[in-house]
Symmetry: C2
Subunit: 462 residues, 2 copies
């Protein structure tokens, strides 16, 4: 419960209509894409950076917890008020596309702008914003920056951090800072934008984002490589990329996901006897470029045992190929009532071994573990399927399996998260990935920005 | 002077041969590419990370200043012991190329490895490390990371930060940390690698660097665009890039630099009546690609008033075109006895106006201000030429001109430094570029890593 005098002061900043404490609002802002639910004490919708500054300054002085929130589409509870406090929602007012600067090829946006709205706007003027997380239709760019979101096109074009040119942000004490300029290069002062990216809203509230744009690729085709086994598909991933293939995306579906898709979408056309599938686009400035890329892929896939290589004849057919990938996540639910899904990431050369071992861990506990995801950048969504979520033993085994998978991944030189972040869901596993020295440094960095620990506190295992 | 008991302890760590206090060594390690000279109290050559950890732990406990140093080729005094202390030289032992991982397309190096040695080694196996600072023949990769070095190829391929995949580092308290993995994506924990890049050796001693490699481009040609004026050349820079040109490099020489080159190298073949020149390479996976790129450039340059567009017929001729750019810096010395050179960076669209105003500032004080540099990324080397460095009035005017130029650049949304860093040379200008809130944040970050302020202290205006 928040003190009435605090509420009154905050109301004086944002006006009555932009602060809510009624049950409906508290429930509407208690969730994200995890199953966890935490009701905030209030929800505030600031209208501009100045209001955010005033709110933070006040909450810092009175040690009131503030949790910044975009669309609430995160997978790890990063935007949940797990320790109470006020939700600072950026989606109602701070959602504008401020500028498309064609001359410098950057866009300036507010944090609450939806990713896809930016993509569409810049493509209309011949430019391109590559990061395309699966949540692109509803996730916000502020959230994308705070989690360093990836996406399908990361194999060729990189991830959110590769496009952040500059940020404006408000520190917990209310100070407004600028990190970076509309310049390609800037080495004056510490790279504060660098540390704000992926900081999960724990260091500052991002109020403005300048993003690099590139020319829109002219030509694109969709391919699908069919492999007899997961191992051969995973080997083809790193060998084809190391031999010079440069696809926009190289997405993976394993045999279980293919089975689930066929069961859930009987009309789907997917190859028989496929042990693993790689699907993606290639693009280029000419059709010859595109076809050359397809040739490199086809040859390299062939050398690594592919049994078929399909190229979509047109965009419509391309969409059909992509349908399988886009529906992989919901399809896996045919295997259980609860999915423990993690987005591990390993050096690409470790993919074959990693998948082999992950399936073995599943077998040991009796779980089916359908896997799919961004193989081109070593980032796989691993889904431990629990048949009966009310079976305590099974749930507990599921969590044991997940912990073993994390340990395996870290031992292979991989990471707990390729794109979802740590939040609260993965916080218990931080000690697998980081030493006490590293955790200490994280705590010191947190303290440097937020000495009173008011901004999204106790996340990331801190 | 360093206490004998400290020396004895440090000697016990690195052994006699790896610690020096004789005058010859103190002089040999007192300089960089600035004209400033500061003798250290001792020079230590650690043999491995463990020794670095022990040294830092001890110096932290005894509040002894440590200044990490690569090749000492910096332009802003970042590696100078301007407040005394011990030079920690990484060039004698910590200079190995540890691994070229072909499967994951990364190289693992020690900080003292020379940039060009890496470039050569990876090109031998068909890979490519793009960042190529002008100092590539002698600067170290540790220094490149600490300054976030740019280079000629940044227009297409980006700068050092775009290639740092992971770092190992020792904190001032002796803790060894790992920041990042050999994975493309990693969003677990704060992005400590992000803040170490460009931190000028003030936060930690980098002990190992994992760098992204890309396939070596197959074909390359060199072009030169000739313009009647600086303004038309600068306009062509941002307009051609915004219209889809994607050259490897787009380097600029102004009329004064051209004049200086002709005077210093009478045999040089440079176009008459050129007010500005743009020179660079284009590359691609086929000759058709390369020629298409050249066409885009030629057309776009033409639309912006170019009077000639020259394409080198072969590599030899390409080298001749590059000769002018590579010798721009020494050539400018025909205009004076002292050069006050700064590497300002502005949003590319501001280049024409920025150069116009810079020349006006030069005129006001009676200086010739030859300019050249990485126009493709908005980063220009501005040289205020002092005729008589012993003339106090002239020197003082020179510094006033520099300060006005910095103010101009910051007002235009630019930055004090595109690639040289702040060090001690630009520290007096930090208040032009940063607010007190931003400086406070920098100080807090510094404290989070280095509470005793022993690591390269008082640099960057901190």
């Amino acid at each position: 419960m928040i003190d009435k005098k605090h509420l009154d002061y905050l109301t004086s900043i944002v006006e009555q209509d932009n602060i809510k404490t009624d049950k409906a609002h508290l429930i509407a802002f208690c969730y994200d894409a995890t199953k966890s639910r935490f009701e905030p004490d209030a929800v505030v919708f600031p209208r501009n950076e100045e209001e955010i500054s005033k709110i933070l300054k006040y909450c810092n002085e009175h040690k009131i917890i503030i949790v910044p929130r975009g669309a609430g589409s995160g997978f790890t509870g990063g935007a949940l008020p797990s320790n109470g406090g006020i939700i600072l929602s950026l989606e109602r007012h701070m959602n504008k596309l401020l500028e498309i600067d064609m001359q410098n090829m950057v866009a300036v946006v507010q944090p609450g702008l939806i990713n896809m709205q930016l993509q569409k706007a810049v493509e209309e003027v011949g430019l391109f914003y590559p990061p395309d997380p699966a949540s692109e239709e509803y996730s916000t760019l502020g959230g994308n920056v705070s989690e360093n979101a990836g996406g399908m096109r990361a194999a060729k074009y990189g991830i959110t951090k590769d496009y952040v040119v500059a940020l404006r942000a408000v520190l917990p004490n209310g100070d407004i800072i600028v990190a970076g300029k509309k310049t390609i290069k800037d080495v004056a002062g510490y790279n504060t934008a660098g540390i704000l990216i992926a900081s999960e809203g724990t260091l500052a509230v991002i109020t403005e984002i300048t993003l690099k744009l590139i020319p829109k690729p002219k030509f694109k085709k969709t391919y699908m490589g069919v492999f007899p086994s997961v191992n051969s598909a995973m080997t083809a991933v790193f060998k084809s990329l190391a031999s010079g293939a440069n696809p926009v995306a190289m997405e993976f579906l394993d045999a279980l996901v293919i089975k689930a898709l066929k069961q859930k979408f009987p009309q789907i056309s997917l190859p028989e006897h496929a042990g693993g599938i790689l699907i993606g686009d290639v693009d280029g400035s000419s059709l010859a470029d595109v076809d050359e890329q397809l040739n490199i892929l086809k040859n390299s896939f062939g050398e690594n045992g592919s049994i078929d290589f399909i190229v979509a004849l047109d965009e419509e057919e391309g969409k059909k190929l992509w349908f399988a990938r886009r529906n992989a996540s919901p399809a896996t639910m045919v295997f259980g009532t609860k999915k423990l899904n993690e987005d591990i990431s390993v050096p690409r050369s470790k993919l074959p071994e990693a998948l082999d071992e992950i399936y073995k861990i599943g077998e040991k506990y009796g779980f089916q573990v359908p896997c799919f995801g961004h193989a081109g950048d070593g980032n796989i969504h691993v889904n431990v399927m629990v048949k009966d979520k009310n079976n305590e033993k099974e749930m507990s085994d599921g969590h044991k399996a997940i912990e073993e998978i994390f340990q395996l991944v870290v031992d292979m030189g991989g990471t707990l998260s390729g794109e979802h972040g740590i939040g609260i869901s993965k916080a218990p596993f931080m000690n697998i990935a980081f030493t006490e020295a590293e955790m200490n440094l994280f705590r010191n960095i947190k303290k440097a920005f937020d000495p009173n620990n008011i901004l999204n506190p106790f996340k990331m295992g801190l």
